[in-house]
Symmetry: C2
Subunit: 346 residues, 2 copies
């Protein structure tokens, strides 16, 4: 504010020239090239200059510039990860698994959120490609053609996660949601349930939930059964919505002995309603979700769920990217299947 501060600020700004590799080289008394080699630890540098450069870099606080590095070497250590939402714990765990497996590899994940919007997904992928990442991990197999073309044109390994029902661009790792829905139906029928209802949210946007729903219905049909009622809402899957929808469904269909939800968040809401309404879960009514959230196993009542290995999916995806050789088109094309464990709670 006062004069000295003003002067100092000008001074500081003048000083604030980015410290470059040339500065390090000058300080160490070697050429830029030698400094570059020394800092990267590639061979062909004497021990003495190695030390000189290291010391100089530390001394003047050299940070390096990934932009220049990646541009010059035509490769970056970024891995683009595209998921529909952060709010869903499931994706949070996948991301966590990815970060875990990437740790120590020198690769850095960059996350993008599509909010289940295909247009936004296209934009995000396009944006990520412009950083020419070492790889891309994207959610699902149901991208629109335009997006697929983008991915195919780009010379980047792509791993599609979570889903297996469809054709991957390159590699994919996940599980068959159609099969998951079907086996939940099988398991519940085997436990004697007959009068099923369904509650789902955001099915228009969540293609995987839709696949589970279809698989579930088909398995019922195969046993000569059908859903007594289907309640779907547009909003996001929340515990609150689960609780409200369950109350409404049970009002019109008190005869149900099982409700299948599009996921655990809704199912937990259903469980809360039952607890509050004094409905005996699971004897009188089975609440069945999907994902096997940690939360579920601590619930005061036992509900059914399919435990999906989120962290493992993230791990596997990251490892595929790490193992894929950009110059060898033969890499990739792998298909890694996980099978959810079904828990009926009965």
């Amino acid at each position: 504010m006062c004069l000295p501060s003003g002067l100092q600020s000008i001074d500081a700004k003048a000083m604030k020239k980015r410290i470059t590799l040339s500065d390090v080289a000058a300080a160490a008394g070697v050429s830029k090239m030698t400094a570059s080699r020394a800092l990267r630890g590639t061979g062909d540098v004497s021990r003495s200059s190695m030390e000189k450069v290291g010391r100089a870099a530390k001394e003047i606080g050299y940070v390096g510039n990934h932009l220049a590095m990646s541009l010059a070497s035509r490769r970056s250590d970024l891995i683009g990860v595209v998921v529909p939402s952060f709010l869903n714990v499931v994706f949070a765990e996948v991301l966590s698994g990815i970060a875990e497996s990437l740790d120590g590899s020198g690769m850095q994940p960059v996350f993008g959120v599509t909010d289940y919007d295909p247009d936004r997904e296209y934009e995000i992928i396009r944006n990520m490609l412009s950083w020419n990442p070492a790889g891309l991990i994207i959610t699902g197999l149901d991208q629109p053609d335009e997006t697929l073309q983008l991915l195919e044109n780009a010379d980047v390994p792509v791993v599609q996660i979570m889903d297996l029902d469809g054709t991957p661009v390159d590699a994919c790792v996940g599980l068959s949601h159609h099969a998951a829905g079907a086996s939940m139906a099988e398991a519940l029928i085997a436990k004697g349930r007959r009068r099923f209802g369904y509650v789902g949210c955001g099915l228009d946007r969540d293609t995987r939930a839709r696949k589970r729903f279809t698989g579930f219905k088909e398995a019922l049909s195969a046993h000569g059964l059908a859903l007594k009622t289907t309640w779907t809402g547009p909003g996001p899957s929340t515990v609150k919505a689960g609780r409200e929808f369950t109350a409404q469904v049970l009002e019109t269909h008190p005869e149900l002995d099982c409700i299948y939800y599009s996921n655990d968040d809704l199912a937990v809401g259903g469980a809360f309603h039952c607890i509050a309404a004094g409905i005996n879960v699971p004897e009188a009514l089975v609440i069945a979700g999907f994902n096997g959230l940690d939360l579920v196993e601590s619930l005061p009542v036992r509900i059914a769920t399919s435990r999906t290995p989120r962290r493992e999916i993230g791990n596997a995806a990251a490892r595929i990217i790490l193992g894929s050789d950009r110059d060898d088109p033969a890499t990739g094309g792998t298909r890694t299947e996980f099978r959810p464990e079904i828990e009926t709670g009965l």
Copy 2:
């Protein structure tokens, strides 16, 4: 595998040369510079070449290269965001808020996870700085000196989020956790509670939870009260841990009429235990958490919590970065305070 396929692969690789601005310029019959200007929409380009370039770019599928762009223009549209964990919904919502406010600004958030490890935080920040981002959003005010120095040397606007109890590098937005702990104690005392217990997880790493704890205890002291018992565990805050710890605490201290938890995850676990054990919540025992998770309002029993505005904090942080002018050191230094709403459930 067979010859033609091999040949094609070689061919495809030869074709797979990155499409650059020069290609677009050639296709449009203008210079690189004109193509650059046309694509960016900066002035000084005739309508006709604008269209030619646009068409050519679309036709040959030009994607652009952020690396080169950022390097040449010495500015990037990346915003680095550093949080301790994805698994905590709170941070997921903050990230979501950041992404929301950044949407349409042309800025892209890049997320890093520290796992509550200061060394990793240092590395992540260092790595982010090497992409010279337009700004940095980091969690908390308690970075080690080394990290602070890194931040101060870098010529990048920094916003520290979540916490206000301390001195920010530049701007900060969040709430006082010390005050939040204290006001929860005040509110509970006002409701007639006297026999308090505390359950917390990961306090060694979560400095903000520690501040709440301290604030809580100090407020109790001010009323001549003290905690009857303190139960702290090392692991992460999970619902499961909350349920187990609560069972154990109540076994030795059945006289408690209120338990304060380090956050809502643990508190929800506590609520689950009480439901399962038939303990009357909140009349017989108040369960008090922190954060005001959506989940909490759907619970079959009412628990106390402090509603923190996660999304708003994210929004505010993003807007500070967007509004900060890199060349004007006067920007920043703002301190944006949010006050949590307290809900006692009584």
